[in-house]
Amino acid sequence: MQPSIVEFIHNRRQSLTEKWLEEIQRVAHDETVERIPDEIYTQTNREFIDLIVDTLDLKQEDAKERIKQFVERLIHIGWPLSYFTRGLQAFRRVILDAIREDPSHEETPIEIFYDIENWIDGIVNQLVDEYSGTWESTLHLQKMALKELSAPLIPVFENISVMPLIGTIDTERAKLIMENLLDGIIEHRSQVVLIDITGVPVVDTMVAHHIIQASEAVRLVGAECILVGIRPEIAQTIVNLGIDLSKFPTKSTLRKGIESGMELTQRKIVTT
């Protein structure tokens, strides 16, 4: 950046800051910001404007590091990204206005504009990168967490395992169900597996198809599959769709499924 502009900004730091603070009140006052206490908001505004102006004198790496520290803290408390982008746009407006009102520049307006634009864009890019980086890693962690939860096989009795399914079944999950079922049957030496669909909101042809395939595969490894947790409305839609689930036993509740699983393995529950 040309030294004269840097000097110009430094000389007017005070008045630019005041103008920006007014401007930011006007543009960045949405719902998310309103929930933040006033004193923190004012303090953050101050810190932010100081940081912007300070980056002028810092070396590129130092500037990056300082922005990073500042932003990480704010991401952590859930500060909206729009505040920063709007704040920087407001800052650019304030500076360009100030430069326009002061005619003592040698550079052409386009040169000045280009310099300012470059400077502000650099900061915006870094902010957006920091934010999207955090979002992506959060998303990744949640995906992993969801995957771990998606198709557990629980050995409840000797030779009997249960797979409770909750939520939507998509292709990726269907694959996991199949893998976990077969691996679990071998690992736990299950003779009977109960697939519980109480928590599955919609059973359409694809879901049914995956369940049929899974139970067929279970049969091939020498175990038996019982489908349990069929709610009345699901039963009716399955009939309407014309899906044939007669190849394996089905039960309305997990409890009844366990009872028939016991029968299949020549045991029963007795009360003493």
Partner: protein, 137 residues
């Protein structure tokens, strides 16, 4: 009353949100549990067909009202629209057990049985529009 809400379908998540929108509207219109499940399942089938065969398209859901000799009847209308390859032989896809994707082949005939009215309009190479209605009884 006839505010149409459309959901774009180009990922499996689109299927889920179309379904969700359908379930909410069905609940608002006053459908019972079983019909809610029927409508949601039908939407799920239609949305999945879009995702599988046409890559992308949209599902539009609206509450409708019609006057007949018994008074006004309310219902829900689901329109599935895509610009996919279209269906060459409509009679074939409407028969049970016909599938090109290795599925069960119960999708479209199933939707017809789940809903009250069913209309399919497809031009090979241009796309498909399926309109179905479920009336509140």
């Amino acid at each position: 009353m006839s505010i149409q809400s459309c959901v774009e379908v180009h990922t499996e998540w689109g299927i889920v949100s179309a379904r969700q929108a359908g379930r909410n509207l069905a609940k608002d219109v006053g459908f019972g549990n079983v019909d809610q499940a029927r409508i949601t399942t039908a939407i799920s089938e239609l949305a999945r067909n879009i995702y599988l065969y046409a890559d992308k398209g949209e599902i539009c859901i609206e509450a409708i009202q019609e006057l007949d000799k018994h008074g006004a009847k309310k219902g829900i209308k689901v329109t599935a629209r895509d610009k996919g390859p279209g269906i060459k032989n409509v009679r074939e896809v409407m028969s049970d057990g016909f599938t090109t994707s290795g599925g069960l082949g119960a999708g479209l005939p199933g939707v017809k049985r789940l809903m009250d009215e069913f209309d399919i309009d497809s031009v090979s190479g241009e796309g498909t529009v399926i309109t179905t209605i479920k009336w509140l009884r």
